[in-house]
Assembly symmetry: D2
Homo-oligomer: 107 residues x 4
């Protein structure tokens, strides 16, 4: 995934539909949260083992929610000038310090 | 972002910390939802224009939440065998049909 | 609202449908979060003034989400032996200390 | 819990702190969603049985989140003129129709 290329595709998509007025970071964060909950909904009554063994139908629906989350994340990062690749690298480096290998803390 | 490469880095990270037992899709969807809300929290009392003009400090904190969401999204997709690049392409194609350019519907 | 009475009604409701196995606090917290996002969805593309002036139709839909949240909150509190009335009184007292009248902090 | 009385207490609380400008239904729905996620966070890495057997410390923290959710729910309902008692009664009646006793559907 080339985020720069994705973001420019999504920017053109929003341009053609006059959506920019709706795409404040506040609204995008809300939309992302709503999509995250739609993902969650698929798993809410499942046991943990069941959640790892979903039907093809559920997997396809979950993939569509994953896409929605990825799309809003890319638009939000674009609006705020956040470099996702770099933010992820920074976070992994930080987590490696915070949770040394072999540590038994959760996450 | 090469998701295959990221997912293999995150898999190694979880291996070294014995986290796989915690990483059921159910739990990962919860964690993703929690991170989405931490992102939301930054914007909850801001007006829409204010949300587009945050301080450098807030922007850095938001970037860290964006990274957490991206990381959980990649791990979840990995666990369920979901190809994020393809899911995003499929969703954009579907949205292009659902919301023709010039349509005035929201989103 | 008499929470004790509501909780006993909801307990009977779950009994009759064999839902208790699904009603772990973990699952109930997920369900509550999903309902909170369904509430959020009604407001995601609205401006703040618009959100205070919704149609009767939207108001009725929002009322149904408010009810879902209230119901899951009561069931969860019941499962964990939490007294909602007392928790609310404690929290208001705590907030009164944390945010003295006239303070300009947000919330 | 007398919601009318609670709502008038919360209205006075917001008056004294000049919070009404922040309390649009949009913002309140965001705040409620954030609190629901803080509740969720307590359970995200727990198994379902563990979530029913939390420590006294966790139970007290969960009670504080339950209170936050109840408080925002009451303020939001107040702002929109929603009668929570009635909305809950309506929803239980509707659920009784939708899920007849003995039905095996989830929830």
């Amino acid at each position: 995934m080339d985020f720069t290329e994705l973001q420019s595709r999504l920017r053109a998509f929003a341009d053609e539909r006059d959506w920019h007025a709706f795409h404040s970071p506040k609204n995008l964060a809300m939309a992302l949260s709503v999509e995250a909950a739609e993902l969650l909904e698929h798993f809410q009554w499942l046991s943990q083992p069941e959640s790892a063994n979903v039907s093809e139908q559920t997997r396809a629906e979950v993939a569509a929610e994953v896409a929605d989350i990825q799309i809003y994340l890319a638009i939000l990062a674009d609006k705020l000038g956040i470099d996702i690749d770099r933010a992820v690298d920074d976070k992994i480096a930080k987590n490696a310090m915070k949770y040394p290998p072999g540590a038994t803390g959760l996450r």
